[in-house]
């Protein structure tokens, strides 16, 4: 009898073990391969959060498309999103957090000041960072762990200067900048001034505002008018740029306005600019009307996914992820991602091919754009070259 009892116990235990295995162990063992973690550190709240959210959405779309296609060599891609809140210290913190979580690379940051603060950490940790909005020229031509998808200021500035000088025929300009992003403003001012002067133009002055504080847009407008400059180069966010344009027009100024890559892409600029922003020109990496199937497919997918129109920051986020995933398809060694990207060199960006120079700065098509009839219209295009 004891033998029988033992047998029963054995049977029961065996049954239980089977159940445990069936319901717990096997499912776990059948867990798919470890996902590839990539980090996205961007400004999701606070100043520039609109662009940051668009960048995030573009990145999410790229990751979801990659996972739907089976991931990278069977491994799913996991996007770890962190909000740098527009603060350099927070940026450093979230970057370290992402590194600790084992991301293979970090996409970010949007603001140049944050990139400036975090690139040294990337170099120290030997982690690749792909900038999705930082256009400061201080990071141009450096052999570091920083690559970016947007044309830096020092390469965009000649195009801006050319636009102002040759297309608009401006010879004398004044720069209006937001001191809240001093680094960016300085970078734009110096590069644009240098390039404009090279062409023979003159930057007669610079007018500052601080978006962190209350300011008088009419006074600013008068100040600009008083400079008698033929043109204004805006280095502000969208809403403040729109405000300045509105007040310039209200003051009766017909001064020509060239908007920087900070001002123009901001949706608030057009939305809040009314008729005052008609004729404003800029250089953009984003073609309003999709020029090819790839662009159309991307924008349609973005609108379906997020219910809103695609923007340049969204495009940047999307392209940044695609470039990283292309490199991950070649190597799974995070240490080699940068060399793979630089060796690969040419990537089919949504907004045109992206060619990386040996330092990771992009050379890509740029579009001359103008607001006409309450819409952004492409009025010219430059092909990639080493500007």
């Amino acid at each position: 009898m004891k033998a029988i009892q033992r047998k029963i116990i054995v049977v029961v235990i065996g049954f239980a073990v089977i159940l445990v295995v069936l319901f717990f162990v096997i499912p776990k063992s059948m867990h798919p391969k470890e996902p590839i973690k990539i980090g996205l550190a961007n400004t999701l709240t606070g100043t520039a959060s609109t662009a940051g959210i668009h960048i995030r959405n573009g990145a999410i779309l790229a990751v979801e498309q990659a996972n739907a296609a089976g991931g990278i060599h069977g491994r799913m891609v996991e996007l770890l999103v962190r909000d740098d809140k527009g603060d350099p210290a927070e940026a450093l913190r979230v970057d370290q957090e992402l590194i600790d979580e084992g991301v293979v690379a970090i996409l970010g940051h949007y603001l140049s000041t944050l990139s400036m603060a975090t690139v040294p950490l990337m170099n120290e940790k030997n982690v690749l960072m792909i900038g999705l909005g930082s256009i400061t020229s201080e990071l141009t031509g450096l052999d570091d762990n920083f690559l970016r998808v947007e044309i830096p200021i020092d390469r965009e500035a000649p195009m801006m200067a050319d636009l102002a000088y040759n297309r608009l025929g401006l010879r004398d300009m004044v720069i209006v900048y937001d001191a809240a992003n001093q680094k960016l403003a300085d970078s734009w001012c110096s590069n644009f001034s240098k390039e404009f002067r090279k062409l023979g133009g003159r930057v007669s002055g610079a007018v500052a505002l601080d978006s962190r504080e209350k300011f008088s847009a009419p006074n600013l407008a008068r100040q600009i008018i008083k400079s008698k400059a033929q043109g204004v180069f805006l280095v502000t966010n969208g809403i403040h740029g729109a405000l300045i344009c509105q007040h310039l027009r209200r003051e009766g100024s017909g001064v020509k306005i060239v908007a920087s890559g900070w001002t123009f892409p901001d949706t608030d600029f057009l939305a809040n600019g009314g008729l005052a922003v008609e004729g404003v020109v800029s250089v953009s990496g984003f073609e309003e009307v999709p020029g090819n199937r790839r662009e159309r497919e991307f924008r349609d997918a973005y609108e379906r996914r997020f219910g809103e129109s695609c923007t340049e920051p969204a495009q940047n986020g999307y392209e940044g992820v695609q470039i990283l995933l292309t490199a991950l398809a070649i190597t799974n060694d995070p240490q080699k991602l940068k060399s793979v990207i630089l060796d690969h060199k040419i990537f089919p960006g949504v907004g045109g091919i992206i060619v990386f120079d040996p330092y990771g700065d992009p050379v890509r098509a740029a579009y001359f754009v103008e607001i006409r009839d309450r819409r952004i219209t492409t009025i010219g295009k430059t092909e990639p070259s080493n500007h």
């Binding site: 029988i4 047998k7 999701l44 909000d83 209200r250 009314g274 219910g307 809103e308 309450r374």
Partner: protein, 1006 residues
Amino acid sequence: MMPKKLRQVLTLNFIAVAALPVLAVGLIALRSLSVSLEEEITEKNYIIAKSIAGDVERFLNEPLNLLEQIRNLKRKGIVSEKELNEYLAGLVTQYPIFNVIRILDQKGIVTHLAPFDENIPGLDMSNQPYYRVARKTGESHWSHTLILSQTRRLALTLTLPLEKEMIVGYLNLSELNRVIDKVKIGDSGYAAIIDSNGTIIAHPDQKFVSERTNVKHLFFAQQSMMGKERTFFYRFMGVEKIGSVAFVPQTHWMVIVTQPIEEAFLPVQRVRNIGWAGMLAAILLAGFIALINLKRVLKPLLRLEKESQRIADGDYTYEPESIPYLEIRNVAHSFKTMIDAIRDRDKELRNSEAKYRQLVESSRILIWSVDSLGRWTYLNENAARRIYGYEPGEMLGKPFTDFMTPEQAKKDWGIFEEIMAGKNQVNYETVHLRKDGTPIMMNFSAIVLRDEQGESLGTTGTAGDITERKRAEEALRESERRLREAQQLAHLGNWHWDIQTGNVEWSDEVYEIFRFDPNQVTPQIDSILTLLPWSEHHSRDQESIQKAFESLEFGSYEQESLRADGSTGFYTVTLQGIYDDDGRLAVIRGTVQDITERKQIEEERLSLERQVQHVQKLESLGVLAGGIAHDFNNLLMGILGNADLAIGILPPYSPARENIREIEKASKRAAELAKQMLAYSGKGRFIIKSIDLNEFVEEMAHLLKVSISKKTMLRYHFAKNLPFFDGDVTQIRQVIMNLITNASEAIGDNSGVITLSTGATHCDRAYLDNINKTMPADLHQLMPEGVYVYLEVRDTGCGMDTKTIEKLFDPFFTTKFMGRGLGLSAVLGIVRGHRGIINVYSEIGKGTTFKVLFPASPSPQNPTADRSEDNAVEEDWRGSGTVLLVDDEELIQHAGKQMLERIGFTVLTASDGEEALRIFQESDGDIDCVLLDLTMPRMSGEECLRELRKIKSDVRIVLSSGYNEQDVVRRFTEKGPAGFIQKPYQTENLRRKMKEIFSQKVEEIS
């Protein structure tokens, strides 16, 4: 197939019976309960979602109502344009839901706003999406949610178009969180609000709101955006969740009440757990009860099992206990009956076993068994002791291979392994060793022992000592072998014929004797008693056989039989009849011996005897002929010598010269006859030269022509490139002459043709033996194979019969009236002397062919160009000096003296060797030459020559004899004569010889 254990079967069955219903009922109950609980939970969450949606609706209705209120006021003009900003400011202050309220004119220019910002009035907002939509639709418009730049907070615009103007309220949506914050669902459940783009606008975790997290990709969002309000299962942030969705009508926002599935259905899980636990408990209880009952049922059976074990151990005491179950009780009683029967049988078995054990133990045959390792496990005492000399105890446990030599052990181990591997009963012979080391030949019979599963446990069997039998067998085999050898040596076979059955047996030698193939011929009596093809033997053999049939007499006879291979053989057959008790002939047995060889030997012996007799006869004839020839020559010497002298004396015109010439001629013919006799006897003169037969015959052509009848034609066929052969010219000439003469005589007076052919042929053994067969036996010679030069003489004469041919070469045999019978004898003697062979073929009336073959010589020596005898001599040569003539014949002395004197010598004579010596000694060196006869009494010429040489070593000595030169000269091994002259000789011969002698230098003489 292995039987199953009752315990297991019953246990499983009981458990199954107990468990299955419980399981079935439990599962069904659980399922239905789970479903209803789940429905209840989902319904509850949905109700909550609906409630929240209602709250949101009310939340949104408030600003709408306020804007409508503003509109109404404007329409009614209750609030003036100037007061409007203040009014708006009051509203904004009073209703925190508003961030900003603006009033735009029909161009979209900001006319009024609150809170006031100096930068805003007059601004063109015509590009704002809310303006364009509201202007287009003319209806109130709720914008998408957005982050307001001024406040960095979530907001939306509510646009209320007026006739020309537009009221735009920027709503602060952070208040939405108040709506959902009061919702508490379980520990982890919450409510959230998602706008129509799928962006989270209210969430307990503000991060989702501030980061504008979009969940449009989630299943529930996709389904909800299609207008479906229901409960969904989805996965968010790695957690499986259940969410119930309700819509906010104005904005088509989704209110979702969500909860982790695990938490949501915790009650269900609890119920399930309880249910499973209950089922398990029920099963265990059922199992327990089943086991208890099983125990009760099996207990008596197990007892029976134990009892059976005890019985198996030999204890047959058993009394069935009280058993509650009838069937098992009956089994127990039957068991008791069975035990009693087993006990009785066991007792009988023991008695039987003891009896057989005694039988086995006392058996002389070894009964044995070994285990799987070859170790003795059983040996019957008596046999083991007797055969091995060991006590069984000394052998048990040891490997059987210990009791044999290592080589035998290896073989036997192989056999053992075969048996263990499954080979059927094996009988084999082996050699073991006794305790004292002497070998025992044994015959083992072994089979494998297996257990119930068929595994080999070892082997067992019997064995016997066959040493003596083996020895007897060996002795018998040896005896048979010797008998067989004896029969083989004696060519003797024995046979045995069973009259009754007709069966015949015979020994192997019989096959050999009759050259039968053992594979094709079966013993039959006719093969032994085969009647011959020669009828003359029938009666004799039948008589012998009949005697054997009729009596006990032993019969024998010789017979010549045909063998199976077609040859004939001679046999001696013996036979004897064996009769049974009734006097009937039962068996005839006998022997047959091959005496063919013996017969052959006897024949050969008789033939040889005949040959020897014939040769002896011929030899004696030869000796006779030689002696007669020698004496004849001496006599002829006297006749020819005197005739020659007389011719020298008579004047040329004397009529007596003719007579003396006739005397010379006759004497010369007589000398030729003597030569022939000498030739026959083998004592003819031999001077060997290389002879070209063609040339030789050609030179004789004239001589041959005159030797034959004029009616006979002579033809020649000469072969070209004929090799030379060595021969004596004179004798070869004689051969040719004799053959031609015979051929001519065979043709006689008729017309005929004699054909001379020459040629060369290679004679092999068969050809030579064949020629020998055709010749009389005494003429056989063992001729070597090789190239032979032949001369063929064919005539068209009368031919000869066989009898004549047989005697053809006998001396003095002749068919001619005037024949002397020596010609062909001489030919034969000459041919044999030349190591040649002669062949005769003749047919009566057709002619005869003689073929003489001489072995070819390798190269010509002493070509026959030199014919010294025919050379001319200077008749004028005269000698000087003194010659001593020694001969026992007075005639020869007289004639010889005169010849020498005629030549010019002074001649002294002596009659024998002694006299010659005396005279020579007394001459004191004056004798210049000695003409010495060979055959003399008292001292022979040979002896005299030696003595003369002693006196004067360089004395010229010329020997003369009736024998040939070679026979004479070969007697002298030391210094021989200076020359030789054949008797009979004439003056010219003598002159020539003396000239030759005296021309030699002194040193050449000796």
